[in-house]
Symmetry: C2
């Protein structure tokens, strides 16, 4: 599914929700090589501000990638720019909803500006930031 630029308007939204598992974190550690004990070492994590292991911040961000590339604007979208502000930890078992909202349609530049944010099961915003994407040129059903 996707939307070409003429189908996009301010206020349009899409979301994706996923419970972040220990598996996600351990696989992400392998992909990134980021073996920071804050993510992998429960004994170490107990001594930190967060008191237990937390997910890599980019795992929440990956759910934004999901929405942009599959829903809004969807297949064919090119991600040009994204600002990320990490606001709160994501614990194993947290259910994160990523939402993308169109905030500006730059028709002359063939780009759209989006507001993206991730919220946990308690309604806390864990991640937010503005992004710029180039929507697909061709409509796919």
């Amino acid at each position: 599914m996707n939307y070409v630029i003429d189908e996009l308007e301010i206020g349009q939204k899409a979301s994706f929700t996923k419970t972040i598992s220990e598996n996600d974190v351990y696989l992400f550690a392998g992909i990134s090589g980021d073996m920071n004990p804050a993510h992998l070492d429960e004994e170490y994590a107990r001594s930190t501000f967060f008191k237990k292991r937390i997910a890599h911040g980019l795992i929440a961000a990956s759910l934004i990638s999901n929405v942009l590339g599959m829903k809004l604007p969807g297949v064919g979208t090119i991600w040009v720019k994204q600002d990320l502000e990490f606001l709160a930890p994501v614990y194993f078992g947290d259910t994160i909803t990523a939402t993308v909202e169109i905030v500006e349609v730059l028709k002359d530049k063939k780009k759209v500006k989006v507001s993206a944010y991730c919220v946990n099961q308690n309604g806390a915003v864990v991640l937010k930031g503005m992004g710029i994407v180039s929507p697909p040129k061709v409509k796919v059903e």
Copy 2:
């Protein structure tokens, strides 16, 4: 390994290099749920501007997470903010080097500003952006 704020100075750098595999992309698709055919469907990808499957942009960004959380400032670092500008595709088999450089030490705010970038085996910058991190308070050897 890590550096507390008094050990950090402008110009300090650290890097991490990894060849991005098909495995990385398929695992990241599972973690994110981002099944965009640009990453997973070689037939579809042939019809795109990039001509073949490309890695998710956040996989390159994950190597920045690696450097920040393990090398500079290292263990105990909290990632506060990161801007990402996706400049070029990462193809399967590309070898990406992520570098983090300290550009400002904000002692009063107990934060540092970093410049982060990812370069491929041909020297092309695929991703760059400024970030803000809170360095560890306690020195770990």
